[in-house]
Assembly symmetry: C2
Homo-oligomer: 491 residues x 2
Amino acid sequence: MPENNTIKKLNRFSVSADLQIFLENNPDKKVIVIQGLGFVGAVMSLVCANSITEEYAVIGVDLPTDNSIKKINALNSGEFPLVAEDPKIDEFFKNSISKGNLYATTDPTAFSMADVIIVDVNLDVGKKADEDYSLKDYDVDLTNFKEAISTIGKFCNTKALVLVETTVPPGTCEKLIKPILENALGKRGLPTCDLKIGHSYERVMPGPKYIDSIRNYPRVFSGIDDVSATATEDFLKTIIDTSKCELTRLSSTTASEMAKVLENSYRASNIAFAVEWSRFAEEAGVDLWSIVNAIRVRKTHANLMFPNIGVGGYCLTKDPLLASWARKNFFGSTTDLEISVSSVSINDQMPVFAYQRLKFVFGQLDKLKVAFLGVSYRGDVGDTRFSPVETLYRLIKSDTSFIKVHDPYVSRWEELGVDVFADLDDVLTSDTDIIIISTAHSSYSSEELISKILSLPRCKIFDAVGLFNKKQILSLKDKHEISLIGSGDFT
Amino acid sequence: MPENNTIKKLNRFSVSADLQIFLENNPDKKVIVIQGLGFVGAVMSLVCANSITEEYAVIGVDLPTDNSIKKINALNSGEFPLVAEDPKIDEFFKNSISKGNLYATTDPTAFSMADVIIVDVNLDVGKKADEDYSLKDYDVDLTNFKEAISTIGKFCNTKALVLVETTVPPGTCEKLIKPILENALGKRGLPTCDLKIGHSYERVMPGPKYIDSIRNYPRVFSGIDDVSATATEDFLKTIIDTSKCELTRLSSTTASEMAKVLENSYRASNIAFAVEWSRFAEEAGVDLWSIVNAIRVRKTHANLMFPNIGVGGYCLTKDPLLASWARKNFFGSTTDLEISVSSVSINDQMPVFAYQRLKFVFGQLDKLKVAFLGVSYRGDVGDTRFSPVETLYRLIKSDTSFIKVHDPYVSRWEELGVDVFADLDDVLTSDTDIIIISTAHSSYSSEELISKILSLPRCKIFDAVGLFNKKQILSLKDKHEISLIGSGDFT
């Protein structure tokens, strides 16, 4: 029997009635509390509530903001607060409802119940852009993150494992989290010797394999000491299917924190590399797509990226900066991670290059009727965070106000306050001048869309994501002008 | 019967007697002339002389410099002018001697005999470095290259295929080679309509698979028009084993020229990326090797590079600059290929970082006795061109003159005018203070070397290339101080 007997726990803090009932309904289960119910935390809560070798009671905790309260209420009333293509999300959520082992709350006393606390809160980077959208300056404001850790320290029991999943500047567990938690326990007159802090980063990929990208995907982990690392490993083995994927233990939390930001920086710099060669290919009148295909046959070059409108989402747009910030602020270097930081800057400018290319190929856009297909930063996902389409939209908006936007996964583009159409017929009309394929949703590559476009009397097409294959491009080219990003072949 | 009947050909120009005899001994064979007998041209001549579906007479032509004449004489007297680990080189060379179908000369009239002329001459980039070895400026001087093409134009017959293998700035075939050849033929009063110009780059990897890296390795090709591209393909099929590897046709010579420099720029930028993270890892006291291993399990990250002393050789140190130069000089861009150019600069600085690290870990080097193991830029190869060891050697030389150098593949380090020992006992002596593993020759990872080092009374070891595995490092660490590049674990 786990020692975290429910009644004992409840005595420690004055816990809300709902939480008491939830815990009483899940007696003798170990308790996992997940801090932060965003794109990672929410799905992580499902993975934990559907763990593999042990039954957990899972509590999601978030701050009492309007948005979080909405999510919490949704979750507690049987509606998962996140739309995604993965059918397992529905399956896992239904399963947790029937087991009654998943609950969400804003009540921080929940941390006092936890055997394992998983930190999934945001840690943002403040970016300042120049007029040309290049990166002028950046800063990491740790205030909210420290506050979140302090809250854990105020309530957690001394034997809990605090497992950090948030992407943090390398060094954070040792230099920030450990002192904050020790200090908080000290203030409560509690010993700090049993405190366990682990770090293990997710490799979540929103989309049709959302759950699998957590559950069946190799993981790196570490702890601030051996006991913490082993506790982390033991826990991960209960939720990750280690028959399908490997766990790799690194020798310090700084190492695994570094691994996470390095992974994303590598990706960001590979993308930035492709950006500059896309522009060169366009200038030289050659097709970078066929060049990349010809090169990728070499295993040593398989990670070479294709042209694209830009990079978006929450990670690649900031993680290189977290790393470079840590290098200077935690480890006293006077040097930025030059390539990694440049990559962010170049990637932030990609939509500007796409905009310039569009005008170079098709001329001025003044008062033209423009249709965007896709606003998400990534295909087959409804996620508009830092979408490169946003920058392109804003730029085109300065030329014309006749813009309509379609996306099968987004109904309201919150960042811009724009309603998004779900029906292509509302967006592709006989007076459409320019169609911009701005997200590579696979539904867009259907023959249906192509015949719809071919039925239009006149329009120009800018495939900014390489959605169409060569055959499709040629069939469209029969009737309309078409330009493909990173290619000088069709101009 | 090929139309290049030997007698007909001989009438066109006054050809040297040796060449006449060679051609008379190879009647009715198509003639390949290879311009440039360097690291690619010399081995390419073997591949052509041992072609797959057709028998060729192969003539290597080089300029009458001391060095080239030495090579030409060696080749004609039965000694291949290039030392490499690949046993196939010896086999192919012996085979060509017994067939008598390979000959070398400085006589440019050889071009008049050619059905196929393969351009394998050098095209160098002039680099100016700042005091810290970063790249200050660069320029491409095309004088010699244009001269080489002009020479072909003076002698070639109008139906020859000129196949460019030299790595050139994208655009060179169309903007430079074609006009030069057309102009030269025009001056000779000859038609230019039959002129065929192809481009296909090798992916030569000096070392134990030297021949296979030409013969059994996928290739990209193109031509200035369809006839040229088809002629190029037809020819390549006779020398490349297309049952084992694919030929990819790109739509223009600019595209395949770009593919070549992009490939190498990608590699250079991946290395530069690893450089800056190596330094960060050293500063943060973590081991980048285990981090890279943990990340490389992801296919999307398999090209992530390990720490190293630097990048050397003829290609990666200049090709990104050829590309960026072309972007500005052939296609009117005002922008460099920023990441690619920065990568060259960062990579050029790598040995400086290694030097700084060495002193940070082991203290001042004044008057210490230093042993370098390896001078080649790459393991298991005797090639010191632009070796990063050169920079490290020069830096250490400013601290101490007691330096000994070992390399199993190099007897004289021409760039530095330094004799290189072949016997480890001459280099590793009881008064050796610091051993620097500077090239990852596989013979160095033997237990023999490790016991030799362990038998030394006192020394410090700097593994600047990650030669030793963890077990070997730990066994060395039992007796000596050891530091591994890109790792803060052993300091």
